[in-house]
């Protein structure tokens, strides 16, 4: 029977909900689900994931206070080997992408990145070529490492809380050190968690366009704001806002693509959204091919009108 270890991610004392997708994917294989929380003062995080696991292992050590790939890979591998894990999972977040290949190397395990479906205990589907192709891959090693595309797996229902137990970890010698983290400060929901996203394309013409036109719409809908690569490259928005093949992959209930042409690389990051609205003055823009509703028009006129109309419609 399979034994799973799910590496739980957290930031600034809060659970990264993307981690729950890894529990959901592991449950599809079947077997026992163990979770691992590394850090310092992470008792609350362990409690938060206990309803999804048989057992939560909590490894607290000064050497894993900051999430660095080298010491983390050693601790994760040690715990995985100690419990006889057959599968080690994490969300395909930036942190998961950084860390898990290193875990795979250390465990001498094959790895599948960013999987979108579980076929059986060794076979997985994953998007390739920016999501233009879905590949089915088989991992032939006894131990397997998998990162999970969070938007493709619904968070599991909470069960009875599993046991929480501390585990001693030894980060070993490391050639890496943490210097600092500059968080993007925002009152808005995180892109990955938002129910509604308003995304800016080059049509917004500059940071002023985002501030004066898109922000009021986002405020009305309690939405997160995202952007195309062109907008981030131009410095009109922080890099952290980028949605697409090389940025974030999102799947909110409602996605507004505003002044956004819909390049393949962008669409790869948002086409899983439940309802897509495109507003663009170019009727030929490729974004209209993926939109559920398209409106051809000047965003500087349409968006303020839309903001008012939505306010009224919501009463």
């Amino acid at each position: 029977m399979a034994t799973h270890l799910i590496v739980v991610e957290h930031q600034s004392g809060k659970l990264n909900k993307a981690s729950l997708s890894a529990f959901a994917a592991a449950a599809k294989v079947g077997g026992d689900l163990h979770a691992l929380v590394l850090g310092q003062g992470v008792g609350e995080i362990a409690k938060a994931v206990a309803p999804y696991a048989k057992k939560v292992h909590v490894g607290e050590h000064a050497g894993v206070k900051d999430r660095l790939a080298q010491p983390y890979a050693k601790c994760i591998t040690d715990v995985a080997n100690a419990i006889g894990a057959t599968h080690v999972w994490a969300a395909a977040s930036n942190a998961g992408k950084d860390l898990m290949p290193r875990v795979a190397a250390r465990m001498d395990a094959a790895m599948a990145s960013d999987v979108s479906a579980v076929v059986d205990e060794k076979t997985f589907k994953r998007p390739m070529w920016a999501g233009n192709v879905i590949g089915t891959v088989e991992l032939t090693t006894a131990k397997k490492v998998i990162t999970v595309r969070p938007t493709e797996f619904t968070a599991p229902a909470a069960g009875a809380a599993g046991e929480v137990a501390s585990v001693s970890v030894d980060p070993g010698a490391s050639k890496m050190s943490f210097v600092k983290f500059d968080a993007v400060v925002s009152d808005r929901p995180l892109l990955q968690d938002a129910r509604v996203i308003v995304a800016a394309g080059r049509g917004v013409k500059g940071p002023e366009g985002i501030k004066t036109v898109l922000e009021p719409l986002a405020d009305t809908l309690s939405a997160a704001i995202g952007a195309s690569r062109a907008v981030c490259d131009a410095g009109w928005a922080p890099n952290d806002w980028q949605i697409g093949q090389t940025g974030k992959v999102v799947a909110p209930e409602l996605y507004f693509a505003v002044g956004l042409s819909g390049a393949i690389q962008h669409v790869a990051g948002m086409k899983g959204s439940k309802c897509i609205v495109a507003i663009n003055k170019d009727p030929e823009a490729p974004i209209f091919q993926v939109a559920d509703y398209g409106l051809v028009g000047d965003l500087f006129k349409v968006i303020p009108e839309l903001t008012e109309a939505i306010k009224k419609a919501k009463g």
Binding site: Q11, P101, M111, V137, T140, F181, D182, Q245
Partner: protein, 249 residues
């Protein structure tokens, strides 16, 4: 300082991706092949860092068929000093890419290995981190800014929710993200010179690596197509649809 930069031959990101008729893989006949864009950024970074740190050497390595020589030559035309082609026909998984690179690193002894953060064909993003672990080196993925000073690399990384700065003792492995730099275009004299720069050929066998893939691609399929949407006439119609049809408001 000495830099080892990896380049992968991939389909042009502007080309339409189509499966072969028998779905055995992506059609490459008649498709333009390029240097993986993230690898191009890695080459540019190595060239700039070589200048900043007072000279050295930039060695470019590709693993692939003889055709990958073209991608090595593009990097040489940008200004890299010499090339290594590790000739291998057919599939090779990230673990074996890393094993081959480990052997190349042991031979070349670079101070920094620079790679793209992912290849835009298989989108795995594994080889650099596996390589760092096999070597016991530090790693900095998704680099936005790199400073090489005092025997270490200080790297600003594009992380979830902000920018993270880490320091790695040299030697180390760094992967390039989009905004690390804007790669230069090769000049005509650069292209001419590139033809005369040394390019060695090796094989995984000669390096002592037996390629027995542990990630095996069993098949490909097209993603599910989204059904065509509809255009609406005005804001009132849009709000009506969102509220009453999609029930999204």
């Amino acid at each position: 300082m000495k830099f080892l930069v990896t380049v992968k031959r991939v389909t042009d990101y502007e080309a339409k991706v189509k499966l072969k008729a028998d779905k055995s893989g992506v059609e490459t006949a008649g498709v333009n092949m390029i240097v993986n864009p993230f690898d191009e950024i890695a080459v540019e970074e190595a060239l700039r860092q070589k200048d900043k740190t007072g000279g050295g050497e930039v060695v470019v390595c590709s693993i692939g068929s003889a055709d990958a020589t073209a991608q090595i030559r593009s990097a040489l035309a940008m200004g890299a000093d010499r090339g290594i082609l590790v000739k291998h026909d057919g599939a090779i998984d990230p673990f074996h890419v890393a094993r081959v690179l480990q052997k190349v690193v042991e031979k070349e002894k670079p101070d920094v290995v620079l790679m793209g953060k992912q290849a835009i064909d298989d989108d795995s993003g594994q080889a650099a981190q596996i390589l760092a672990e096999l070597l016991g080196w530090g790693q900095a993925t998704s680099a936005n800014t790199v400073t090489l000073e005092g025997g270490k690399a200080t790297v600003v990384r594009e992380a979830d929710g902000g920018l993270e700065t880490v320091a790695c003792e040299l030697p180390c492995v760094i992967t390039a993200d989009l905004r690390l730099n804007e790669p230069r275009y090769a000049s005509l004299p650069g292209i001419m010179k590139a033809k005369k720069k040394p390019l060695d050929e090796l094989t995984p066998d000669a390096l002592g690596v037996k390629v027995e893939n542990r990630v095996v691609v069993k098949g490909f399929e097209e993603p599910a197509q989204k059904k065509a949407g509809q255009k609406v006439a005005d804001v009132a119609a849009l709000v009506d649809k969102l509220k009453n049809e999609a029930k999204a408001l």
